[in-house]
C-alpha cells in the first residue's frame, strides 16, 4: 500500500474511530474526551483531504479496491475508492463543514444529556458521507447512501422523547426508502445489463448500450439507459428532497440545529446531486432522463420557495430555502451543466451551513424560541451572528461578488442555453425563484435582526428542550459557536470569486464528469466567461439582479416599513395562504393515502385473508364441516311430529314441482 493509499483510508476511518470511541465508550471517557476525539478525527480527515486535493491537482487520480466484499457466482463486488477531481472537491466540502459543525456542537449541545451520543452520530455521519463520495462502485455508493439515511434518522429523532421528532424521523426514513427503492432497481438493471457494478467498467460500456431497449409493460420498449437513469434519479429525489419526495426535509428540522446544517443543508441532501454528476456518462446518453431531471428540479426550485414565504419558524424558512436551492442544482444537472451544479453544491454548502448555524445561534440567544415573529432588533445583542447572517443571506440571494451569485447566475445561464423539452419552464422557474428567494430570505433577516425588539413580550415562553436557562435579554453565543460562523462566512463570501474561473473554463473536472458534445451549455458558458470581476459587474444589467433587489426591497417595505400590509394580503388571499400553509396538501395526502391506505390494506388482508379465508374457512373449516353435517342431521331428528310432517309436505311440493315442470 502506498502512502497515498493509506491517506485515502485514513479519511473515512478517522471519523469512524472517533464515532466508535464516543459512541461505545462515551459513558466511560466523558464529555470532553468524546468531543476531542471526534473533532480530532474529523480534523485529521480534513487535513488528509487537503493533502489528497493537492495530490489530485498534481495529476494523480486513483481507482482501486480495498477488499472484496462479496462474490456472487463470477461477479465480484468490491469496496474501493475512486479519487478524482470530483471526489476530492466533495471530500473537502464534507470534512470542512463537518469540522465546523463539530466545533459548534460543543456550544450548542453543552447541556444536553446525550452529548457523547450526538458527537458519535455526527462523526458516523461524516464517515458514511465520505464512503459515499469516495466510492468507485455502485454497491458502496448504496452503502453510503443508506448509511447517511440511517444517521439522519437517528439524528432527527435525537430527542427521542418528543413525539414530533420520532414522527419526523420515521417519515424521513420511509420517504428516503421510497427513493432507495428506485435507486436499487436502477442498480439492479445496471448489473443485469452491464455485468458489473464498477463505475469505470459501466461507464466504458455505456455508449454501446445507448441504443439498447427493454420491454417493461406489454410490448412497449424503452431505451435501457432512460429507464436506468430515471430509476437512479428517483433515489436522488429521495436524498436530495426533490418534489414529490421533498416532504421529509422540512420535518427533519425536529433534529438539533447542528445536524440541520451538516446533514439537511450542506452534505447529505447533496448526495443526490453528487450521484447524478458522478453518473454523467449515463445521464448524457438519455435526453428523456435529463428532461425529467430538469423539470423535477424546476418544480422544486420554484414551488418550495413559495412555501418559505409564509414560514415563521426560523429553521423552517432556511429549510424551504434549502429545498429550493437543491432544485436549482437539479435543474443544472438536467441542463447537463454538471460542473455548475457541483459548484452551486459547494457554495450552497458553505452559506447554507452558515445560515443554519447562525439560526442556531439566534435560537440559543432567544432561549430556544424559534418563532421569528418573536424576535426583532437582535443585531444589537448578537453582532457576530448578525454580520455573518447578513453575509450568508446576501450570498444566498446572489449578490454580485459573493459565492452564491456566481453559482446561481451560471445555473440560470446554463438553463437558458439548454434546448431540452422543459427547459423553457425551467428557465422561468429559476429566474422567478430569484425574486422569491430574495424576498423570504430578507423577510427572515429583517424580522430577526432589525425592527422593534419584540422578544420582551415572549421571553420565558420559549419552547424546545430544556437546558439553557430562560429569561434575560438575547445574548451573543460563545466563541465555539461564533468561530464556525466566521469560518463559514469567509468562503460564503469568497469561494465563488475564486472557484468560478477554473470551473467555468471547464478544465477543473477533466474526465471526472462527462458531457456529450450535443449538450454545449457548459462549453458556451466557458467561452462567454469574461472573468470573475467582469461577470459580477455585468450582472447589474441583468434581470436576475434586479429581481433579487426587488425581492429585498419588497421585504423591507413589508416587514420594516408598512408591517400592516402582509396581514392584509393574507386576509385578502386567504385561499392561497391556506394552500401554502398546508404545503400544497402533500402531508395530508400522504398520511391519508399511503400511510392510511397501507394500514387499511394490511388490516383487510389480515382479517379477510389470513383469519377469515385461510384459518376459518380452510383450516378450521375442515373440522367444522364435520361438525356442521352432524348438527344438520341432528336437526332433522328433533323428535317433534310437526317437523317431520312439515318436511314431508315440503318434500311432496318439491317432487310435484319437478314432475309437473318436467
Amino acid at each position: 500500500m502506498t502512502e497515498m493509499q493509506k491517506l485515502y483510508l485514513l479519511v473515512p476511518l478517522a471519523p469512524l474511530a472517533g464515532a466508535a470511541i464516543a459512541g461505545l465508550f462515551g459513558w466511560l471517557v466523558g464529555r470532553a474526551v468524546s468531543h476531542w476525539v471526534t473533532i480530532i478525527g474529523v480534523a485529521v480527515s480534513f487535513f488528509a483531504s487537503v493533502l489528497i486535493f493537492q495530490d489530485v491537482m498534481a495529476g494523480h487520480t486513483y481507482n482501486g479496491s480495498v477488499y472484496t466484499w462479496l462474490t456472487m457466482g463470477d461477479t465480484r463486488l468490491e469496496i474501493g475508492f475512486l479519487i478524482d477531481r470530483l471526489t476530492t472537491l466533495m471530500m473537502l466540502v464534507v470534512t470542512f463543514v463537518s469540522l465546523m459543525v463539530h466545533i459548534y456542537t460543543i456550544g450548542y449541545m453543552q447541556e444536553d444529556p446525550g452529548y457523547q451520543r450526538f458527537f458519535s452520530y455526527i462523526s458516523l455521519f461524516t464517515f458514511s458521507m465520505l464512503m459515499l463520495v469516495m466510492s468507485n462502485n455502485f454497491v458502496q455508493l448504496f452503502f453510503g447512501w443508506e448509511a447517511v439515511g440511517l444517521v439522519s434518522y437517528l439524528l432527527i429523532g435525537f430527542w427521542f422523547t418528543r413525539e414530533s421528532a420520532i414522527y419526523a424521523n420515521l417519515k424521513a426514513f420511509l420517504v428516503n426508502r421510497v427513493g432507495d427503492f428506485g435507486f436499487l432497481l436502477g442498480i439492479g438493471l445496471v448489473l443485469a445489463y452491464f455485468g458489473s457494478l464498477d463505475y469505470a467498467t459501466v461507464f466504458a460500456r455505456a455508449p454501446e448500450m445507448a441504443n439498447h431497449t427493454i420491454s417493461l409493460i406489454g410490448g412497449q420498449t424503452w431505451p435501457l439507459l432512460t429507464v436506468i437513469c430515471i430509476l437512479l434519479f428517483v433515489g436522488a429525489m429521495g436524498k436530495s428532497a426533490q418534489f414529490p419526495l421533498h416532504v421529509w426535509l422540512p420535518d427533519s428540522m425536529e433534529g438539533p440545529t447542528p445536524i440541520s446544517a451538516l446533514i439537511h443543508a450542506a452534505t447529505m441532501v447533496t448526495a443526490g446531486i453528487f450521484m447524478v454528476a458522478r453518473m454523467s456518462p449515463l445521464f448524457e446518453l438519455s435526453e428523456t432522463a435529463l428532461s425529467v431531471v430538469m423539470v423535477i428540479g424546476a418544480i422544486t426550485a420554484l414551488f418550495m420557495g413559495f412555501l418559505g414565504v409564509i414560514q415563521n419558524d426560523i429553521k423552517r424558512v432556511v429549510a424551504y430555502s434549502t429545498l429550493s436551492q437543491l432544485g436549482y442544482m437539479t435543474v443544472a444537472l438536467g441542463a447537463s451543466a454538471y460542473p455548475v451544479a457541483i459548484f452551486h453544491l459547494m457554495t450552497h454548502a458553505f452559506f447554507k451551513a452558515l445560515l443554519f448555524l447562525a439560526a442556531g445561534s439566534v435560537i440559543i440567544g432567544m432561549h430556544h424560541d424559534q418563532d421569528i415573529r418573536h424576535m426583532g432588533g437582535l443585531r444589537k445583542y448578537m453582532p457576530i451572528t448578525w454580520i455573518t447572517s447578513l453575509i450568508g443571506s446576501l450570498a444566498l440571494i446572489g449578490t454580485p461578488f459573493l459565492a452564491g451569485f456566481y453559482s446561481k447566475d451560471s445555473i440560470i445561464e446554463a438553463v437558458g442555453l439548454s434546448h431540452l423539452p422543459g427547459s423553457g419552464f425551467a428557465y422561468f422557474a429559476v429566474v422567478a425563484g430569484v425574486f422569491v428567494t430574495a424576498f423570504y430570505s430578507f423577510r427572515m433577516y429583517f424580522l430577526v435582526f432589525h425592527g422593534p425588539e419584540r422578544f420582551r413580550e415572549h421571553l420565558g415562553h420559549g419552547h424546545g428542550h430544556d437546558g439553557h436557562g430562560h429569561g434575560g435579554e438575547p445574548h451573543e453565543s460563545p466563541f465555539v459557536v461564533t468561530f464556525p460562523l466566521v469560518m463559514l462566512a469567509i468562503p460564503s463570501a469568497l469561494i465563488g470569486y475564486i472557484a468560478i474561473e477554473p470551473l467555468m473554463l471547464g478544465d477543473y473536472f477533466q474526465n471526472a464528469i462527462h458531457i456529450a458534445g450535443s449538450h454545449p451549455a457548459v462549453e458556451e458558458l466557458g467561452k462567454e466567461f469574461p472573468g470573475a470581476a467582469a461577470m459580477a459587474l455585468h450582472a447589474v444589467t441583468t434581470l436576475p439582479f434586479w429581481l433579487a433587489a426587488a425581492g429585498v426591497g419588497l421585504s423591507w417595505f413589508f416587514y420594516l416599513k408598512r408591517t400592516d400590509i402582509p396581514e392584509k394580503i393574507r386576509a385578502r388571499f386567504s385561499v392561497i395562504y391556506a394552500i401554502l400553509d398546508r404545503k400544497y396538501g402533500f402531508d395530508e395526502f400522504n398520511d391519508w393515502f399511503f400511510a392510511g391506505g397501507a394500514r387499511m390494506l394490511g388490516r383487510s388482508l389480515w382479517k379477510g385473508g389470513d383469519v377469515a379465508v385461510i384459518d376459518n374457512f380452510f383450516v378450521n373449516g375442515t373440522a367444522r364441516l364435520v361438525g356442521r353435517i352432524s348438527s344438520l342431521v341432528r336437526h332433522f331428528q328433533s323428535g317433534y311430529i310437526f317437523h317431520y310432517a312439515f318436511a314431508m309436505i315440503i318434500g311432496v311440493f318439491v317432487l310435484m314441482t319437478l314432475f309437473v315442470k318436467g
Binding site: 477488499y67 457466482g73 461477479t75 454497491v139 427521542f160 420520532i166 436499487l184 448489473l191
Partner: protein, 492 residues
C-alpha cells in the same frame, strides 16, 4: 481432513448432552443442568467448526461423508455428508443452540433440565436433517425434530399453546405423509433410498409433477409459504423465547433446504414448469405479508409475519434459477437466522420484564434501557435490510437475481425496502422511543451481562456478515453452480 466422523459428532454430541442433562432430574439440580447444557451446546459448536475450516470450497460434491448399512432389507443406510449448500446451516444450528441455552438460563425456572435437554436434542436432530443423504434417515430426523418442538411449545408455552400446537401439527401432518409417499415411490423406482441416486433417476413429467407437489406440501408448510403460513404466528406467540428462536432461525430453513435437496434436483423439469407458481406465491408473501405485518399489535406476531415475508425472498431466489438468486437465497437464510433470532430474543428481554408482548403496553423503553435500545435498533435496521448488516446482503442478491429474470419480480420484491422498514421501524418508534409510557416501563432495568452477551454475539454476527459476506458465499459457489447445471438438464 481429520479422521473424526465429524457429522456424526455434530448430531450425537448435542443429543448425548441432552440425555445427560435429562439425567440430572428434578429442578433441585437446575444449576447443574444449566452448566451441563452449556457445555453440551458449546461442545456441539466446537465440533461443527471444523466443517467450515476443513471444508474444500473448490469441490462441489459431498464432503465429510460417512456411510454404513442400517436397515439392510430396504437398503436404508446411515449416510451423511454436507456440501456448500448444507454446511452453513449446521454451523448456524450449533451457534443458535448456544444462544438458546444462554437465553433460557434464568428465565426458565421450572423443569429446567427438560427444557435444556429438549433444545439440545433438537439441535442434534436438525443437524441430522441437514446432513442426511438417505431418504429414510432424513425422514426420521425430519419427524423427530418436531417432537422436542411440540414439547417446548406445549410445556413452556403461553396460555393458548394447545391450539397453536395442534394447528402446527395439522399443517405438518399432511405434508409429511405426502413426502413419505414420494420417498417410497422413488424407492420403488430406483431400489434405493439414496438421495443422490434420486437425483439421477429419470422421471416422466407426470411423475415429476406429482413428486414435486408431494414434497412441496411438506416444504412449503415449513418455510412457510403463503397461503400455508398461518400456523407460524400462532406457534411463535405461544412458544417460549427459545422455541421462537429455534423455530425462526432453523426450522423455517429446513423447508427451503428441502426444495434445494429434493424438489429441484429430483424433479428439475417440474420445478421449471412450476416456477411461475412458486414465484407468485413468494411475491405474495413479500408484499401481502409485509402489509399484514404493518398492522400487528403483538410484537411476536409482527416478527413472525416479517419472517414469512423474508422467507419469501428465499423461495423467490431459489426458483428464479440463477446464481445470484440461489446464492442470495442461501445468504438470506443464514442472515435471517441471525436477525430473527435476535429480534425474538429482544422481545424475550422485554417480555421477561413486563410479561406483555403488546406494542401498546410499551413506549419510551430507551429512557430506561439505553443499551437494549441500541441493540434493538441495530437488529431492527438489519431486519429492514440496511446495508452493512447481514439483512441487506441476501435481499440485495435476490433482487439482483430476480431483475435478471423479470423486472417486475424485482420491483415487487424490492417493495420490502419500504414495507420492511415501515413495519419494523414503526414498531421501534412505538416501543423504544417516546416519553416513558407508564409506570411499568418506568421500572425497567437495562440488559443483564448474560443478555448483553447473547445480543452482543448476534450483533457481531449481523454486522460481520454485512460488512464481509465473502466467507459465506465463497464456500457455496461450487455446489450452487453444480446444482444449477444439474437442474438445467432435463430428466425426461
Amino acid at each position: 481432513m481429520s479422521g473424526l466422523p465429524l457429522l456424526s459428532l455434530v448430531i450425537w454430541v448435542p443429543i448425548a448432552a441432552g440425555v445427560a442433562v435429562l439425567a440430572t432430574g428434578s429442578d433441585r439440580n437446575a444449576g447443574l443442568a444449566r452448566v451441563l447444557a452449556l457445555i453440551g451446546a458449546v461442545a456441539g459448536l466446537v465440533v461443527s467448526l471444523p466443517l467450515y475450516t476443513q471444508f474444500d470450497a473448490q469441490q462441489a460434491g459431498m464432503q465429510f461423508v460417512e456411510i454404513s448399512p442400517w436397515i439392510e432389507t430396504f437398503k436404508v443406510t446411515y449416510h451423511l455428508g454436507v456440501d456448500g449448500i448444507s454446511m452453513l446451516f449446521i454451523l448456524l444450528t450449533s451457534f443458535t443452540t448456544v444462544l438458546v441455552v444462554l437465553a433460557g438460563w434464568q428465565v426458565i425456572e421450572k423443569r429446567v433440565a427438560q427444557y435444556m435437554a429438549a433444545f439440545l436434542i433438537m439441535s442434534g436432530l436438525m443437524n441430522g436433517v441437514f446432513a442426511a443423504l438417505d431418504g429414510i434417515l432424513f425422514y426420521v430426523f425430519w419427524e423427530a425434530m418436531l417432537i422436542p418442538m411440540f414439547l417446548a411449545i406445549g410445556v413452556w408455552g403461553g396460555p393458548n399453546r394447545v391450539y397453536a400446537a395442534v394447528k402446527f401439527f395439522l399443517y405438518t401432518l399432511i405434508g409429511s405423509l405426502l413426502m413419505l409417499v414420494a420417498l417410497i415411490y422413488l424407492y420403488s423406482k430406483s431400489g434405493t433410498f439414496e438421495i443422490l441416486d434420486f437425483h439421477r433417476l429419470p422421471l416422466s413429467m407426470t411423475e415429476q409433477v406429482l413428486i414435486f407437489f408431494a414434497f412441496f406440501m411438506a416444504f412449503a408448510v415449513k418455510v412457510p409459504m403463503w397461503p400455508v403460513h398461518t400456523w407460524l404466528p400462532d406457534a411463535h406467540v405461544e412458544a417460549p423465547t427459545g422455541g421462537s428462536v429455534v423455530l425462526a432461525a432453523i426450522m423455517l430453513k429446513v423447508g427451503a433446504y428441502g426444495f434445494l435437496r429434493f424438489s429441484l434436483p429430483i424433479a428439475p423439469d417440474a420445478s421449471h414448469a412450476l416456477s411461475g407458481f412458486i414465484i407468485t406465491l413468494s411475491l405474495i408473501a413479500v408484499v401481502y405479508i409485509g402489509l399484514v405485518a404493518l398492522v400487528q399489535a403483538d410484537m411476536k406476531k409482527l416478527i413472525a409475519y416479517s419472517s414469512i415475508s423474508h422467507m419469501g425472498f428465499v423461495t423467490l431466489g431459489i426458483f428464479i434459477f440463477n446464481t445470484y438468486g440461489l446464492e442470495g437465497a442461501l445468504v438470506q437464510m443464514v442472515s435471517h437466522g441471525f436477525i430473527s433470532a435476535a429480534m425474538f430474543l429482544c422481545v424475550g428481554v422485554l417480555y421477561d420484564r413486563m410479561h406483555s408482548r403488546q406494542i401498546a403496553d410499551y413506549g419510551g423503553v430507551a429512557n430506561r434501557m439505553p443499551i437494549f435500545a441500541a441493540f434493538f435498533m441495530l437488529f431492527a435496521m438489519a431486519n429492514s435490510g440496511l446495508p452493512a448488516t447481514s439483512g441487506f446482503v441476501g435481499e440485495f442478491m435476490v433482487i439482483m437475481g430476480s431483475i435478471k429474470a423479470n423486472f417486475w419480480y424485482a420491483f415487487l420484491a424490492a417493495s420490502t425496502l419500504i414495507f420492511g422498514a415501515a413495519y419494523t421501524l414503526w414498531m421501534v418508534k412505538r416501543v423504544v422511543f417516546g416519553a416513558v409510557a407508564n409506570s411499568h416501563v418506568e421500572q425497567l432495568n437495562d440488559v443483564s451481562p448474560r443478555e448483553f452477551l447473547v445480543l452482543g454475539l448476534l450483533a457481531v454476527a449481523v454486522l460481520g456478515m454485512g460488512l464481509y459476506p465473502l466467507p459465506f458465499t465463497e464456500v457455496m459457489h461450487q455446489s450452487v453452480s453444480n446444482l444449477l447445471s444439474h437442474v438445467a438438464q432435463s430428466k425426461i
